[in-house]
Amino acid sequence: MADPYPTARAADSIVPPMVPRVARIAKRRREIADVVTLEIEGGAFDFAPGQFNMLTAFGVGEAAISVSGDPADGARLIHTIRAVGAVSRALTELHPGEPIGLRGPFGRGWPMQEAQGRDVIVVAGGLGLAPLRPALYRLFAEREKYGRIVLLFGARSPQDILFRDELEDWRGRLDVEVEATVDHARGDWRGNVGVVTSLISRTSFDPSRTLAMLCGPEIMMRFVANAFIEMSVPQERIYLSMERNMKCAIGWCGHCQFGPVFICRDGPVFPYSQLRGLIAKKEI
């Protein structure tokens, strides 16, 4: 059977997959309080939207980080990282000129082929916009291949809105519908307040034409997927990107096992139909 979405290429590569390449930071940009975007230059970077790399902060450790840049821009690799623990903090503290370790790209990304000819609803929560951004770049670059493109974005507060300038640009386009909402805001915020699921019930769409791409906290994706299912979007056309602790990222170690699948090798993007029985269970 033809593979419906891009597969990992790392395993076929001649570079041993557990050995990081050393690259250098070209640019660093603070996005919001605890989130930084790193730009790595000087390679020939090939990846599919939704794939991730293992990034090493030397002397600290390695973490799985999705690519957040444009797949068409093969000379630059862009990652957007939130400091949550030792490794991610060390990564966000790297500055231009400093070395970074790099393995990848890994995993199966967003179903760009399958999305063609359909209306695409992209739902991002918080930092979930970063792994979706490459898919958005591709959707916009080949705009004519898709029906409606809708981006629904939820963040914790107005200060936590990622890629704010770009969101504004996208909102200004006539061929894309963009809605953002925040969970909490002061009285002077003029945008929407409410959970991201409230944007779905307010958006009218034809479920038979729709393909949904979801990325954000797992609990958010569960509620969003359920909202789509209630509106009769088929479960096999609701895709979500999962996160689990990674070690090898190539299906060797079992660290990222989620029921019968390995997130690193079989995902991180899965159709909801494949995760349905697993995602609400506590002990997986």
Binding site: A83, G125, G126, L127, R156, A185, R186, G187, W189, T197
Partner: protein, 154 residues
């Protein structure tokens, strides 16, 4: 042409699929309302004497916090209900509702509708059925907001 309130009521999403007799009963308690940007539809602590079915414009549901000023908990827009407290004693608002834009709404006299609901349980049951889904949705939303899903814990 001036549209009759019953016609306006019937067109609102809230009444979709509702029995014509019931629509008529509700329309008997309804009038048009308009709020300028910044104007309050109601304040916390006031009696819940009216509720609103939004036709245009957005409304911010706010709580006043002495330390932080007004905090917006939710924004509502056309097609949605503003005000659920009219249905449950003691019939008092527990938050402020402020028009963000120019808001046009159908205002429904709560005492009138409560009276009619007591007299006709069919109407009361229909109102319960129509108000429970947004009530549960808002409860669920409040829970998600409370656990702070986007926080740095995952």
């Amino acid at each position: 042409m001036i549209e009759s309130i019953e016609h306006i009521v019937k067109e609102h999403r809230f009444f979709a699929g509702m029995d014509a007799g019931i629509v008529q009963l509700v329309s008997g308690c309804a009038k048009n309302a308009r709020f300028d940007p910044g104007q309050y539809l109601f304040h916390e602590g006031d009696g819940a004497d009216w509720f609103y079915l939004l036709r245009n414009g957005r409304v911010a549901i706010e709580l006043r916090d002495p330390a932080r000023g007004a905090v917006t908990l939710q924004t509502l827009r056309e097609g949605e209900l503003c005000g659920l407290s009219w249905l449950v004693p003691p019939y008092r608002w527990t938050y402020d509702a402020r028009a963000i834009d120019l808001v046009r709404a159908i205002a429904v006299d709560a005492a009138c509708l409560r009276r009619k609901s007591e007299a006709d349980p069919r109407l009361g049951y229909e109102m319960m059925k129509r108000f429970m889904p947004p009530l549960l949705e808002r409860l669920q939303a409040a829970r998600l907001q409370m656990i702070d899903i986007y926080g740095a814990h995952g």
